[in-house]
């Protein structure tokens, strides 16, 4: 993805000077309009979250007033943050952040350690482990969640943070992604470190980790998005508000006859904002991360 800007059609400006400019402007405006139309649902969400009256939100949706808020108010946000709303969204958001933080931190660490041993270790049977891992990543999460739920309940981990963190930290896909990166590190680097007498963990920690920031960022982003958006698993494993993440919290609005649109909109914005902040800061990394997840399957 690093070559995005460099290649494109040869500049037509050389041939004619005035005409292509108009064409370029038309093209630009066309793309801009398409982008605005495609993205407009997200814009509507942000506008609606600033309207405190849930009936007003619905009434406005049918007209251009949906794009405009005359008296912006943060009341929806204060409502759900201070537990004044129908559901404790402050709690759900904090739960989600705890789960996200532990899963990503643990996941990056455990997966890269394992990948290092698989790529450079001397342990017998590494090839077998690698083959087993590659075989396992075809198993979809959906087809193991119910037996897993039964196991987790038997182990007394139901309705806990651990049940939402531990199962998804280590993943064959991410071990494999990091493994692929590690095996491309020149042998000389590894050899130099062993000559110095460094232990395997030392080599991993001070030589390989600093080298592999791109792939670690990729794994962190993919695992982070995946964790943040988990739905099926926390829906089944959480029974109370104790460890319930925000995704399940928002979905529970739909159970009622009349949806609290104002709270649902504000909660949705709250769920989007952390992702948006990271996305704006690391946009290039996000896109390349998703590309590299394409090695899956």
């Amino acid at each position: 993805m690093s070559t995005v800007v460099s290649t494109s059609t040869p500049s037509p400006v050389a041939k004619v000077s005035a005409k292509p400019d108009i064409g370029a402007i038309v093209k630009f405006v066309a793309v801009l309009i398409i982008a605005l139309v495609v993205i407009s649902p997200l814009f509507l969400l942000f506008v609606a979250s600033l309207k405190p009256d849930r009936f007003q939100i619905l009434a406005d949706m049918g007209s251009f007033r949906a794009f405009w808020v005359s008296e912006p108010s943060l009341q929806n946000f204060t409502d759900i943050a201070t537990f004044g709303g129908a559901l404790p969204f402050g709690r759900y958001l904090v739960n989600s952040l705890i789960i996200l933080f532990c899963t990503v931190l643990g996941g990056v660490f455990l997966n890269s350690m394992a990948a290092f041993v698989l790529a450079w270790g001397r342990l017998p049977g590494r090839a077998l482990v690698l083959t087993a891992l590659i075989g396992l990543y075809i198993v979809p999460q959906e087809s193991i969640v119910l037996p897993l739920l039964s196991l987790v309940n038997k182990a007394g981990l139901g309705d806990s943070f651990a049940a939402q963190i531990l199962p998804w930290m280590a993943s064959p896909l991410y071990i494999f992604l990091i493994y692929q990166f590690f095996i491309q590190v020149p042998r000389d680097i590894y050899d130099a470190a062993t000559v110095d007498g460094a232990s395997p963990f030392r080599i991993y920690w001070s030589v390989f980790l600093p080298l592999s920031l791109p792939v670690l960022a990729t794994v962190a982003i993919l695992l982070g998005i995946e964790t943040w958006n988990q739905y099926l698993w926390p829906l089944m494993v959480t029974q109370t508000d104790y460890a319930r993440p925000i995704s399940v919290g928002i979905a529970s609005f739909f159970g009622h006859d009349s949806v609290y649109w104002n709270s649902a909109m504000a909660a949705s914005v709250m769920m989007m904002v952390p992702v948006l902040i990271f996305y704006l800061a690391f946009q290039k990394w996000f896109v390349s991360s998703f590309i590299s997840s394409a090695v899956k399957c």
Binding site: L44, L45, L133, F181, S288
Partner: protein, 318 residues
Amino acid sequence: MSSQASPMPGSASPGPIRAAMPRRKPPIWGGRLQELGMLLPACILIALFLLLPFLSSFEIALTNQRLIPRPVPVRFVGLGNFQQILTDSAFWTALWNVTRFTVMVLPIQCGFALAIALLLNQKLPFRNFFRGLFFLPAITSMVVVCVIWSTLFQYPTGPFNQIVGFLSFGLVGPIDWLGDPNWAMPSIVLLSAWQAYGFQMIVYLAGLQNIPETLYEAAELDGANAWQRFWNVTMPSLRQTHIFVLIITTIQAFKLFTQVNILTQGGPRGTTDTLVHYMFTAGFVDQRLGLASAVAILLFLIVLVVSLVQRFVVRDRR
């Protein structure tokens, strides 16, 4: 699929398949123990939370086990669960629905993704900004997407009904998009395609970047117009990308659950029930773990077959 995209940005060539021979030193036991300590945590987690439930699903599927154990002992029922599923018309409806979903979502999602990718592949100011903008839905949680789109689908005065009414001079509608058995699935398709096209878009963009410029120049010299260049240069060059995108979209589509669970609960009248939703209802709502495990195995087999087809096709044509 390693040929689709290099595994990480900036890595030039695939590099040598490693030749890791333990030739330098006699093995140090301390080092090996440490290696074991580094490898085991991830492996234990995967064994406990992926391998064990996967294997146990085959065992559970042969019993009448309940999610919350009952005082009566669990009974071995052989292939009874599979028999029950395969004779349950609701299962076939779910399978048919998810097939219907896949057939509808594939051309819409991938076609739209390709169209946007083609737009963004041109000389364009702020191209990276646009790419970032078009990618936004892909990082939006499906739950959030459901909140937004359920207001768009609102009956009778939501935006979609207003647009349809306006375009048809009030002859059509208003339509209860998510409540009408004829419209519920197409509505889910539209929403799903909107949420997910970003991934296919960037995969197509990467594919487009890999087409050599000389091919277009040669076609232009031969007098091919833009339309002909698209069909005779772009499309054939994207062949591998197409296969990859189609397979991965198919696998995703077969796992359809979240939006259905939130917006329609499989209704109206079972028209949006899907395989995963059927499994969820059987195992979680009705507590019939054995039956649900059998569905899970069938789902795994479907995903396996689709993946194998992809490996086959890709290897064949290389």
